[in-house]
Every structure is written in structure tokens, then in C-alpha cells.
Symmetry: C2
Subunit: 205 residues, 2 copies
Amino acid sequence: MNFSSKLLENAVNEVSQLPGIGKRTALRLVLHLLKQPKERTTYLTEALQNLKEKVKLCKNCHNISDVDLCEICANKNRNDELICVVEDIRDVMAIESTAQFRGMYHVLGGKISPIEGIGPQNLTIDSLIAKVRGGTIKEIIFALSPTMEGDTTNFYIYKQLEDIDISVSTIARGIAVGNELEYADEITLGRSILNRIPFEGSLKQ
Amino acid sequence: MNFSSKLLENAVNEVSQLPGIGKRTALRLVLHLLKQPKERTTYLTEALQNLKEKVKLCKNCHNISDVDLCEICANKNRNDELICVVEDIRDVMAIESTAQFRGMYHVLGGKISPIEGIGPQNLTIDSLIAKVRGGTIKEIIFALSPTMEGDTTNFYIYKQLEDIDISVSTIARGIAVGNELEYADEITLGRSILNRIPFEGSLKQ
């Protein structure tokens, strides 16, 4: 690209470092900002800087929070005997928006993935184990994506918890509501037959 | 979306105001920034702020520039008798990258578009007319997109220049190099037959 301005080139280079944003898209975004009133840029950059400087991770569940203990962990009405283990704060948001879960969360910060160089020590697994050994927790629900990495992570944590007397479950896997059976992949469909549920159970919600 | 942090919500809202970026993409970008070292965010926000505060429009051609007169206008080796009228600085970059044009540019800043509320007074048309009346220019090339708005803008400017003795041309329209004829639209194909060029001319470059 032939830039007529170093400032422009610099801004485009920085924006194009974001995932999924190429140089052309970056240029489009930057030129859009230039056409907007100056405050737009100020609001954007201040919001990003503020987030980066002031945001905290909840000391209990590692969810993103403005304070030391996130809203969910601080909520006395939630069931602190039940912990849902998720990969990412986006998963917390997704589960919260279902309004079906009233327990607590534990955000791992990723999945074990040797290819990406992520081992157990890069995740918050130790803090989870310590929390479980601490006492009150009765059940752990694994809510990681059903991929090779997700399953590996589930199994690793499960092994660490073997000597502790708690129940461990994983979110149900099967055909998504609204999906056509003929388009389901073979593994999902095969397992959904093996792990069939009593019809009465399926009527809940 | 259920945000666990106001700071996060604020950042996502600001990022999702960019064109073509929805809330989910904004969240993905913001969380990516959070995972990166702090400097990444600082570099990004500083680049955007610097651009917005310091960037100038070239006083001659209205191209984006770091100084009062852009590199192209300041270049003595370029032909200042030839002006290429474009909509946007991206078009300058596109034409410059062909290395086929050694004249000057004039950036209109848009096209006349009543639907979007853009009239001639919102563009740099007056400055173009004044420049042409100023003297040295011998030819104007319209290089706007061949759309209804582009054609309207070309015609409006052409009308303003009627009493001045300069030649006015427009970039060639026809079948793009490498395209299959059978997929060309009817208007382009029809016009490309009417406006056929001598075969010897087509051998250039």
C-alpha cells in the first residue's frame, strides 16, 4: 500500500494487528474514524485504555470484573456448592444469558493445547483444585467446548480431583435444538443414541 | 449481552460503532487486546489519537498528509498539467500502486448522493474549479466509480468546466482484464462494443 501519510500508515498497521482484520479493512475503519467527529476517536481510545488499565480478574472465579470480587461471586443468592468450569468469559456470558444456571463459575482462561503451547500451568487449574479442596463445593460441571482440547482439559482436571468426594458432570452433548437430524455429524448422532435420556426428562424446559 | 464489567461493556460498545463490526466481533477484538501485553493497546490508541490530532489534508489536492502539501503535490517531477479527480484517498493509493500515472490528484471526499444527503457543497468541487481557473491545468481525468452517483458527480463538474478550454476524459470502462466475457453485465459489455478501441491501442502495456 502506498500511504501518503506516516500517521495513517501507523494507525492502519496497528489496527491490522487485531485478529481477522486485514490491511484493507483496517484502512476502511481508520478512514471512517477520520470522517467522524474527533470525540468518537477519543471515546474509543479512552474506553480501550481504561479497560486495559483498570479491569481486574475476579480473585475467586477469574472472570473479568471492575472490582476484586465479581458480581456473580459476590451474589449471596447463588449456589456456591456448584461450580461451572468454562474456558473463557464469553462462555460465562453465554451461560448467564440462558438464565438456567444459578451456581458459580470458574474461568480457566483457555484449554490445554500443546500445539499452541498452552499447558495446565498457563490456566487457572491450580486455583480451581485449591478451591475444591477448600471445602464447600459439591459438584463441578465441565462446560468446555466438545473438542479434542476441551476433552483433554476436562480429563486432566478430572484426574486431579479423583481423590476428592465431589460429583463431576459435563454439559449434555447431542443434537442442537432446531437442527435437522440428517445434517448432524456421525459422532454427535451416534453418541446421542448411546446417551439417550428418558423421554420425561427431555420435557423439562 | 450480560457483561460482568462496565469497563468491558463500554469498550465493546465503542468498538462496535465501527462500520461492519458487530457486538460479538467487538467483544472478540477487545478480549484479544486484553490478552496481549499492555503496550499493544497503548500503541493502538496512540496511533489512532495521533492520526486524528495531527493528520492534515493537503491544501492543494485534499489528500491525507502529514504536512501542508502532500508528497505528490510537492513532487516537482510530476506533471501538474494533468489532474485525476478521485472520490477518496483509497483511490489515490490504488492508482499510485499501478505506477501508470504521473500527474496530480484532486480528492473530492465523496460523490454527489442526494440519498445520503451529500451535495456539491459537501465536496471539494469549488476548490477544483478554482484550481482549474487558476491556469496551468490542461487535462482533467475523472476516475470516479462508474455508478449513478459517480456519473452524476462527473457530469456536475463537467458542466462547471464547460466554458474553460481544457480536455476532460474519464477512465476507460469495459471488461476487466482476466474476466470471462460471458459473466460480464450487459451494460458493460454493450458499451465496451460501442466504445471499442483500435487493436493497436490495446497492445500498449
